[in-house]
């Protein structure tokens, strides 16, 4: 092997090593890298210490017809089309909050099965369109309307 081939080998090995290290690290930390849990994660993973005062994030779609507002207190149900979790939040909601919207709630999953949120973030999807187009789409079924099919 001449010097140049040695350097090519060295760079390839270093890249391979770093890629493996990064891959293993991210795999080991996958629960932390994931920004939020789905209602399915929360309800089905009884072995994990999610219930019990630990602050976690819950993400999903707001089910149609479940939003109740009483002063600053807002109650609604979040779904991932598989499991539903009721959420309560006292405070200001983001402008994008509405039925069918994807949201991420930070808070605790309490033993009574209610997720009490201290912060609500609106999740935006990859669809960008003018209001008129959204109105037309709504008539024929917008992707966000899938939340209507959430189990009651």
């Amino acid at each position: 092997m001449n010097r140049r081939q040695q350097r090519i080998t060295a760079i390839s090995l270093v890249l391979l090593g770093v890629a493996c290290a990064a891959g293993l690290t991210l795999f080991a930390l996958r629960d932390n890298v994931t920004f939020f849990l789905t209602p399915t994660d929360l309800v089905s993973a009884s072995s994990r210490p999610f219930a019990g005062g630990k602050t976690i994030r819950l993400g999903g779609l707001v089910v149609y017809g479940t939003v109740e507002k009483n002063g600053l207190l807002t109650k609604f149900v979040v779904t991932d089309m598989n499991e539903d979790v009721p959420v309560e939040h006292e405070g200001i909601m983001p402008d994008l909050f509405r039925e069918g919207q994807g949201i991420v709630a930070t808070g605790t999953y309490d033993p009574d099965g209610v997720f009490r949120a201290s912060q609500i973030l609106a999740k935006h999807d990859e669809e960008y369109m003018p209001p008129e187009v959204a109105k037309t789409l709504e008539k024929y079924g917008h992707p966000g309307d899938a939340a209507q099919k959430g189990t009651p």
Partner: protein
């Protein structure tokens, strides 16, 4: 590829390519700004803050493209010892850092009204912040040695290793749950049926072209400056 490793040949190339790139950047930027700020509809959810996308997304694309080109140049510099490739890293790192900063700042400005927060530590935002730190690290390493040519080798190693971060940025929104939305333009075939309305896609693509041309112009200009500075330095030493 190595035809242009010769600085003299590179100069001949950049003599016409640099003004062409800057001209193209202006020619694309003017209609891009016109459509982006004036003649395009507001979004049905984000209203007028969707216009931030026309700066944010092109800046992110160029920041990653600049890093990819730098990573390739770093490997060339380490393997074949081409001086020009090392000077290219020195020239481009600050430009890439600024495009990354533009991406992070505009993303924050968009996040507050849309998500309800300036910043979250989700995989996409964090990996782009890491990209910014990689750029800063490369700039600092390049300057950390008494002999600047040795600094170029050190920064090249960091640039090569940092290449790992590019697929992490790209696929972070697919691999993990993130607050950041997934890509709207996933392939060229998606251009025919995009998740972005055509009236919004037009300014986005114009601005992407303008930013790319601006980057090429800046990269060529700064590489020529780096060549001249090194020539001056070596002459003074002798």
């Amino acid at each position: 590829m190595f035809r242009f490793a010769n600085p003299a040949r590179f100069k001949t190339l950049s003599r016409w390519l640099t003004p062409l790139s800057f001209t193209l950047a202006v020619v694309l930027l003017l209609p891009g700004l016109y459509y982006g700020l004036y003649d395009s509809p507001p979004d049905y959810q984000q209203h007028d803050s969707v216009r931030i996308m026309y700066v944010h997304v092109p800046a992110a694309w160029v920041a990653m493209m600049a890093y990819a080109s730098m990573g390739v140049a770093a490997a060339v510099h380490l393997i074949w010892k081409h001086l020009l490739a090392g000077l290219y890293i020195r020239a481009v790192a600050p430009v890439g850092a600024i495009f990354t900063a533009i991406c992070l700042v505009t993303g924050s400005l968009w996040g507050l009204p849309t998500w309800g927060t300036w910043w979250v530590w989700d995989a996409r935002l964090t990996s782009v912040l890491v990209l910014f730190f990689l750029y800063i690290g490369i700039i600092l390493l390049d300057r950390a040695y008494d002999n600047p040519d040795r600094g170029m080798v050190a920064s090249s190693w960091l640039a090569v290793i940092g290449l790992i971060n590019l697929p992490i940025i790209k696929f972070s929104v697919d691999w993990w749950n993130t607050l950041h939305q997934p890509a709207s333009l996933t392939s060229f075939s998606k251009l025919a049926d995009p998740s972005i309305h055509p009236d919004m896609l037009r300014p986005l693509l114009l601005m992407a072209g303008a930013f790319t041309a601006l980057f090429i112009g800046l990269a060529l200009t700064r590489t020529n400056i780096a060549i001249a500075q090194r020539r001056k330095m070596t002459h003074e030493r002798v």
